[in-house]
Symmetry: C2
Subunit: 408 residues, 2 copies
């Protein structure tokens, strides 16, 4: 058997667990069951299938269904076999007699924003027991809050992903030419990303959301609205994949949106540049400049204490002043209502720079800011950088040169 | 605005909806709320974000959050704006007064095997109303049963995906050489798959499961156990992606498992071949022959009426007779307990050739059969073909030549 190194040092896993325990204690929870692969990886260092139980006080146990052997190599948290699911309450009562063996009412949190309802219902019934004294409650906000603040190691991984995207883009830009399909163009970049360690897809927490590497979309096809929870949609490859790249050909004098990312060693980068073969129409060139201006203004305000929603509101005002509010972050009824989003292990992390998201910025947050403008029939222009919030001005993690990329 | 062709003809969508209504009626359900992108696509032809409501009797409505405009282009089912989620019960009462306006107890099904618990809880509370007379129940088995039987159009799409995989494999095999990393090798094939229309990932229904294109894994790295719900695991790219390809180098005289697929126009193919640069060790060559023998025997039995679990049981007996039962479908505690699985829009469809899955085979099912043997420290060998169950013998959909691929 090969040795699998621990990817998250045991001390880091236990520090994260300790912070989770703080959240549980202040929320009046007796413990948390963690089920999602990404959450499991964050708190234990292993994403083998199973449930990690973190009591509000005391030692956690990772109950693994498969692979127990591999989980033991990957995590310093105690690993036990999950065994028969219908016995899980008895298993917990054996390991945590002061909780599950006590008969007292318990409040157990779980990552209910991702756990499927069918499993939730089985688990809730099973844990409730004959007296119905154990309640399974939503604790996903605690997890999202903790994961929002990145450690230096996490920032380094995001930077490594940013380096890979920059290299892949530089390597492939030479091949971009008029008449090339969006599909051929993304295949080229995805090859460069993959050989640099991209796992082949990016994780999204949102239900029904999926993304392999991003959107390399151009002209009218780029401006198609879509279900995708972002400012740009894309025609896609048919109704069964109605977003991102299509078989449309890239033409002269239309914007080419290069909104790409990758996931390396678990961590994601997300960035956007705009390119054109020839010249952008005047209005679109102005919109591109406005997206840069919005980014500059956001950079000034992205300091600890600034409220997330205020960044979005201010960007809306800038778009309005520029006479472009109908085109900002999508067009008309299909406008996305945000300016940026947290990134990390998933591409849709907290915080969100959106109306109603009234949390103040804190050092350690990593946020992709992506002002974009959509022109139906013509295309999408914009820019996206990712930043680490620090005590002073935000540290840019994106490496790619900022400019409208003009090809002859 | 560009025109997006309907991908699922309106008549096909309504025929599927009508079969779902038959299921609802026989299950004593008053209607079904469909929420998952793939289920929405199957029944409406559109996977825009929202809920499709299918009453047990009468006309369905697709309530769309985003993009309404695009949904209208993609489906012949009536599209309405979802509007404010907290008003959804009133919206349903307006459109279905004989159901939600009547005050009578209702049983509403939903795809609870995939709907996140957090959304389920909100939806269940919202629909229940002040009297609590509306119950939200799990109807996912009905959907899985219906989707299990493929139409000729669906089979053609699976065949198109099979053709793309065959071409991509043929095109890339020339580049496979000793000392190449698994990662470089999959990047090469993924490029070929992508330019042929692969959407970049394959959909899986199972919680926490993910797959971009499959596993091109070799030697000891291939034999690493993993959480992935399949017979082969793979070392992967670290604990944050602990399955499939790794950075390990492919060496002489070790098995190279080529377990790949793609998703084109929504439909998936899944196939496996085994290759070797040089010669396989004798025991592994024998195991490969045994996997072919198991497949031959399964082909004889894959006729309507054969019980799915019996196919698995018989394959276990063959593995036992060959003295290879400890290596069959994984090794030791990490063995997968199945021989094959349905494929279609998702890679983990029904039926499953597994213990306890006692459904008889029916014409129209499409099943990937994948006998494999794992040898820790040495590798994984096996073969996988996909078949359409017909009234007579199964029709192979996989095109790639069957043989142990030997490279000099």
């Amino acid at each position: 058997m090969m040795n699998q190194l621990q990817d998250v040092p045991t001390s880091v896993a236990f520090e994260r667990i300790s912070r989770l325990q703080g959240e549980l204690q202040s929320g009046g929870m007796d413990g948390m069951l963690i089920s999602q692969n990404i959450d499991l990886y964050y708190f234990t260092g292993s994403m083998q299938t199973g449930y990690a139980f973190v009591p509000a006080h005391g030692e956690p146990v990772f109950y693994v269904k498969r692979s127990v052997e591999r989980a033991k190599q990957e995590t310093g948290v105690t690993v036990k076999e999950l065994g028969a699911f219908r016995q899980f309450r008895e298993t917990l009562a054996r390991d945590y007699p002061e909780l599950f063996g006590s008969g007292q009412p318990l409040r157990i949190a779980a990552d209910l924003d991702v756990l499927p309802a069918q499993t939730y219902l089985k688990l809730a019934e099973l844990l409730a027991g004959p007296d119905g004294n154990v309640k399974l409650l939503d604790g996903s906000a605690s997890i999202r809050k903790l994961r929002m603040i990145k450690s230096e190691m996490e920032v380094e991984r995001i930077q490594a992903a940013a380096k890979a995207v920059d290299e892949a883009l530089t390597e492939s830009l030479n091949d971009l030419h008029e008449g090339m399909s969006e599909l051929s163009w993304i295949a080229r970049i995805e090859y460069e990303l993959r050989i640099r360690g991209h796992i082949g897809l990016m994780r999204m927490r949102g239900y029904n959301q999926e993304i392999a590497t991003g959107m390399l979309i151009a002209g009218a096809a780029a401006a198609m609205p879509s279900y995708f929870d972002g400012p740009a949609g894309g025609l896609g490859l048919g109704a069964a994949s109605p977003q991102s790249v299509s078989r449309s050909l890239i033409r002269r004098n239309e914007p080419i949106l290069l909104d790409i990312g990758c996931c390396i060693d678990g961590y994601i980068i997300d960035q956007t540049r705009t390119a054109v073969i020839g010249e952008l129409p005047e209005k679109l060139a102005f919109a591109y400049q406005t997206s840069e201006a919005i980014l500059r203004e956001a950079e000034k305000r992205m300091i600890p204490g600034t409220v997330c929603s205020a960044l979005y509101t201010h960007s809306l005002e800038q778009a309005l002043s520029a006479g472009l509010s109908a085109h900002f972050m999508g067009y008309g009824a299909d406008q996305a209502k945000f300016l940026g989003h947290g990134i990390g292990l998933e591409i849709d992390e907290w915080p969100v720079l959106a109306k109603g998201f009234d949390m103040p910025l804190q050092p350690g947050m990593v946020i992709a800011v992506e002002p974009k403008f959509t022109f139906p029939g013509q295309g999408v222009v914009g820019i996206e950088n990712s930043y680490l919030i620090t005590d002073e001005s935000p540290r840019p993690l994106t490496r790619t040169k900022e400019e409208l990329i003009k090809l002859p």
